[in-house]
């Protein structure tokens, strides 16, 4: 008798090979695997969203007790209008729903970015120069200075205001150019770290796959 685990294992193995076939180039096996993953993911998501959100949180309360949950008519209508985005002729009807989504998301994002990232990060950068909190002021200062230089130079690097020169070319000021150059160095380090992280993650995933193969074939 074939256990579900065996079936799952075989399917997983095959799909893994199909994905690895991309090494020889784009091929139908890879595309089939990708399409299956996309399709399965989309179906699973739709099922989860309906089962865990729409049904218990919108439809059942509303239809069970419309009067008590009359307010649920609003998200119901907005959800139905959002479905009109599928049709080019009716897409304008889904504009209000999109407006609500975009507006709420923008507001939450901006608020969170400001209060959750911008301000705390600025404070943190400033706090680096708090020598009282550091055991070694010099080190703290050096560290703070280094980070400060990196932050400023990186921010200046993204400053693209320029002026016209005598020869007709458009260039930034020399000081800005120097600072931006330093900031580009910090950016390069940061991008390098990011690349290393991506490679590490992919390598780990690959090792995990080997682990799967070993487990599947009983190699340990």
């Amino acid at each position: 008798m074939i256990s579900p685990d065996l079936i799952v294992g075989v399917v997983a193995f095959l799909f893994t090979l199909m994905i690895f076939s991309y090494l020889i180039g784009d091929n139908p096996l890879f595309r089939v695997a990708v399409y299956i993953f996309v399709g399965v993911s989309a179906g699973y998501v739709a099922a989860v969203a309906f089962r865990q959100v729409i049904l218990p949180d919108l439809l059942m309360p509303f239809f069970d007790n419309p009067l008590q949950h009359a307010i649920l008519i609003v998200p119901l209508i907005l959800g139905l209008l959002l479905l009109t985005k599928v049709s080019p002729q009716l897409t304008k009807w889904g504009t209000p729903s999109m407006a609500v989504l975009v507006g709420v998301s923008a507001a939450v994002a901006i608020g969170g970015a400001v209060t959750g990232t911008l301000i705390p990060q600025i404070g943190a950068t400033i706090n680096l120069f708090d020598l009282r909190a550091s055991a070694s002021p010099a080190a703290a200062l050096l560290n703070g200075g280094f980070i400060l230089v990196g932050v400023i130079t990186t921010l200046v690097y993204f400053h693209f205001s320029a002026i016209s020169t005598a020869d007709g070319s458009v260039r930034r000021l020399g000081l800005i150019e120097l600072i931006a150059f330093i900031g580009s160095i910090f950016l390069a380090f940061a991008l390098g770290v990011l690349f290393a992280g991506v490679y590490s993650a992919a390598l780990t995933a690959l090792i995990e796959r080997f682990h799967f193969f070993g487990t599947f074939f009983g190699l340990g």
Binding site: L23, Q52, S105, T115, G116, T117, G197, A201, R209
Partner: protein, 867 residues
């Protein structure tokens, strides 16, 4: 109305019995049956039917009418012009040369208007080509006896014909005076004359009145005299009558005596002493016409000796010699006798092709003095004829000169008949056979030059009878043939008169330059019916070429060398702009693919091999208790939570990196679950989070044997993204309304701060930032630990340093630290050697690749420097 007939010309209603319209004298009844009786055609030698000239009054020309009226006014001065009731015309046994005038049929369209007008019949109106029954062109000679008596009694000192009269309706009739001269004599016959209506058929002019010109009466008298003794007949005795006219009477009589085709055949020479000499000379010239061509007429046999003979007529005798010259001789050479009295226009009768020569004006000037006034008015100086000759007129109606009288201006140009066989050329043109013109034209004038004559007669339409008068009496049979058919050598090419040449369309159509410049056009045709003509298109195929070719224009631009160089440069620049960039060769792509395969193979072999070999070559990183170490902080923060406390675990990562996250989170969760036995509350903003959480707990953490519902709960999918997280952070129970909040695991937990710790597992910095930003302000004292992938760790580190999170475990390296802290080898140890080897290979490849690119760059630079 059955007895009435409507005239088709003027629309006048006429009785049915009338043969001619009483208004316009046009034929009403067609000539359908054989002509009999009076309608019988006139035979040669037959006297024409007398017509009542009074009927011709309406058709008299205007000038003639006026003359008649003046004559009537001075009636008492000229009893000699008393009309005779029966003008008798001497009947002569000799043929009436002018008899054919009355027998002129409609078919004969060659009767010139001038001749018709002379007789006072047709006006200057053009003759239309009508049917025979129109009878407009017919020349009828009426019997003088039929002439109305009214005209006989009129006599005026001034010949009525000299005075302008109103133009009468057109009528094809010669002057009655002319008809009277010969009607009783031998009828004048013309071989081409169609049956002519007798004079009796001539409709009586409606205005038959006593306005018959006196001169007409005289002519009648004179004609009657001719009938008896032509020589004895006194000519018009009026002192006003020009002598030539007087002599004409005798001359006409003599001319009528000739048989057909010979107007001036001197078979019956006028023996009377009254015969004008010029007429006698005509007889003599007619005789010479029958002579061989080589022979020339002698000197004027009977030069005009009478003092009354006009000089022009005298000169005609001399000019008649020119007509007798060979046609081979150029017309220019055939100048008439140097008699100054011979009018030039008469001279040109023998010089058909003589163009306007410089001598003509001089001659014209000398002859101006001799020209009568009436003819002067009709024919201006020599310029007019020259102008006429220069006319490229094919129009038969081209007027000769502005000042020409009506009778002269109404002259029709010679039509094709003139171009017909040379033998049918007008009378005043020398024939090929050397026929001579035995008679001079009746109205020759010495003052006119040959060119003038040509101009005058250029538009004339010579009647056949008159043209044949100059023809030989018995033209040889060969002469009747077209010139081309005639035996070679016997007939010399004809010399066209100037007025014929003027009508040639070839020269008229061609522009002057072409008509003069084209050499091929100047050639004289020697073959065919157009022999002798110039500018004839060749009939030989292939010889014909375009007389004119369109001008070829150069399409090249007139540009200087500098401009051309600039244009070439601009063209080169444009070509470079549109020139395709050569693509790299396929060898570079192949090399990259091979390199990829090599790297893949090395990586798979090394990592796989070391993994399956279960080596532990590479040591785990040592745990350095640094204050700012994010891993140590995570460990520390989780160690501080109380045992059995609810811990919120957020699974926000994708299935693709589930292996890394499981490997990364496994040490920490092992530590937490092993040491603290927390109640896990699982939530996820990704629909697959629950599944991933279930996987982690069932496989990686299966040793911990966490049971669903008792040790952990799954709140499920948290919808709404940022807003959902924010909502959950504020009120988790409303964000996820579920009964699990009343479970033993979540008993009494309604806020985020009720949790001991919040552990966020994410593979992206964005998801981690969202939870950090949204849930951070609402976590209270709960530890906030983030377990992320190695790719998200650098981006979430600032939050660690900012204090927004309590710990960060990013990647397998941090997991190794945790596992190092755990003291128990786990999955990280299993992956560590392969992970380390993989990292070493990556570093090696980067170093080798960089070094290789550096070498290639040096070589490229050296190559560029060399170039």
């Amino acid at each position: 109305m059955a007895d009435m007939i409507k005239c088709s010309v003027c629309g006048e209603i006429n009785p049915a019995d009338n043969e001619f319209c009483k208004n316009c004298l046009s034929r009403l009844q067609p000539l359908t049956g054989p002509l009999k009786g009076e309608n019988a055609p006139l035979q040669p030698g037959q006297a024409p039917t007398k017509k009542n000239t009074s009927e011709l009054e309406p058709i008299l020309p205007q000038w003639l009418r006026e003359a008649r009226q003046q004559a009537q006014q001075t009636e008492g001065d000229e009893p000699k012009f008393a009309a005779q009731e029966a003008p008798t015309i001497p009947v002569s046994s000799e043929p009436d040369l002018l008899a054919g005038l009355a027998s002129q049929s409609d078919e004969d369209e060659d009767v010139p208007d001038w001749l018709v007008n002379i007789t006072g019949s047709a006006p200057a109106k053009k003759k239309k080509v009508e049917q025979e029954d129109s009878n407009i062109k017919k020349v009828e000679m009426g019997d003088f006896s039929e002439m109305p008596a009214d005209d006989k009694g009129s006599a005026s000192p001034t010949p009525t014909w000299m005075t302008p009269q109103e133009a009468a309706p057109e009528k094809d009739e010669l002057a009655s005076w002319l008809s009277e001269m010969g009607q009783t004599s031998v009828p004048f016959a013309d071989e081409k004359a169609a049956p002519v209506q007798p004079a009796a058929s001539t409709p009586e002019p409606p205005s038959a009145s006593a306005d018959q010109s006196d001169w007409l009466h005289d002519l009648q008298n004179g004609a009657s005299t001719f009938d008896e003794t032509p020589a004895d007949q006194a000519p018009i005795s009026s002192d006003e009558t020009p002598d030539w006219l007087k002599n004409l009477d005798a001359g006409v009589a003599s001319s009528e005596q000739t048989p057909a085709q010979q107007v001036f055949t001197p078979q019956a020479p006028i023996s009377s002493d009254d015969t004008p000499d010029w007429l006698k000379n005509l007889d003599a010239s007619a005789v010479s016409a029958s002579q061989p061509p080589d022979q020339q007429l002698p000197a004027p046999q009977a030069p005009i000796s009478s003092d009354e003979t006009p000089d022009w007529l005298k000169n005609l005798d001399a000019g008649a010699v020119s007509f007798e010259q060979k046609p081979a001789e150029k017309p220019a050479e055939s100048q008439p006798a140097p008699a100054s009295d011979v009018p030039d226009w008469l001279r040109t009768f023998g010089e058909p092709s003589a163009p306007s020569t410089p001598n003509e004006p001089a001659v014209a000037q000398t002859s101006d003095a001799i020209m009568p006034d009436w003819l002067k008015a009709a024919a201006p100086s020599g310029e007019a004829p020259q102008a006429v000759q220069s006319e490229k007129s094919t129009d038969a109606e081209t007027p000769v000169a502005v000042e020409m009288p009506d009778w002269l201006s109404s002259l029709k140009p010679v039509e094709t008949e003139s171009k017909a066989p040379e033998s049918a050329a007008p009378a005043f043109v020398p024939k090929e056979s050397g026929d001579t013109l035995s008679t001079a034209p009746a109205f020759a004038d010495d003052s006119l030059s040959s060119g003038d004559v040509d101009a005058i007669f250029g538009s004339m339409q010579m009647p056949d009878w008159l043209s044949s008068a100059a023809a030989p009496s018995q033209p040889p049979a060969s002469e009747s043939l077209p010139p081309a058919a005639q035996p070679a050598g016997s007939i010399a090419p004809a010399e066209l008169p100037s007025w014929v040449q003027a009508m040639r369309p070839v020269e008229a159509a061609l522009p002057p330059d072409m008509s003069q410049g084209e050499a091929s056009d100047t050639g004289v045709e020697t073959k065919g019916p157009l022999a002798g003509l110039q500018g004839v298109l060749p009939t030989i195929p292939g010889v014909i070429k375009a007389s004119s070719r369109p001008k070829s224009h150069s399409i090249k631009l007139n540009a200087s060398e500098e401009q051309q160089a600039h244009s070439a440069l601009l063209e080169q620049i444009l070509a470079e702009e549109t020139a395709p960039v050569p693509m790299k060769s396929s060898s570079a792509i192949l090399s990259q693919r091979v390199l990829r395969w090599v790297i893949t193979a090395l990586l798979f072999l090394s990592v796989g091999g070391i993994f399956f070999s279960r080596t532990q070559i590479f040591t785990l990183p040592s745990r350095v208790p640094l204050p700012n170490d994010e891993t140590e902080a995570a460990i520390s923060s989780l160690d501080a939570i109380p045992a059995g406390a609810p811990v919120l675990a957020v699974f926000d990562y994708q299935p693709s990196l589930a292996g890394e996250l499981e490997a990364t989170s496994a040490p920490l969760f092992n530590r937490l679950l092993l040491l603290k036995h927390p109640n896990l509350v699982i939530v996820s903003t990704s629909p697959t989070g629950s599944a991933l959480a279930e996987r982690l707990l069932s496989t990686t953490l299966k040793d911990r044997n966490y049971q669903r519902g008792t040790q952990y709960v799954d709140l499920g999918y948290l919808a709404g993204g940022l807003a959902g997280v924010y909502d959950f952070a504020q009120t988790p129970t409303t964000a996820i309304p579920t009964d699990l909040w009343q479970s033993a695991v979540l008993q009494g937990k309604a806020h985020l701060s009720d949790f001991a710790a919040v552990i966020v597992l994410t593979d992206s910095a964005e998801a981690g930032r969202v939870w950090i930003e949204q849930a951070g302000p609402f976590r209270g004292n709960a530890s906030f630990v983030v377990v992320s992938s190695a790719q998200a760790g650098p981006m979430l580190m600032p939050y660690m340093q900012s204090g927004q999170i309590n710990g960060l475990v990013a990647g397998l390296n941090s997991a190794a630290k945790v596992e190092q802290a755990n003291g128990q080898p786990g999955l990280t140890r299993r992956y560590w050697d392969a992970y380390s080897l993989g990292l070493l290979l990556a570093v090696a490849f980067m170093i080798l690749g960089g070094f290789w690119n550096f070498i290639l760059g040096l070589q490229a630079r050296r190559t560029q420097e060399v170039k």
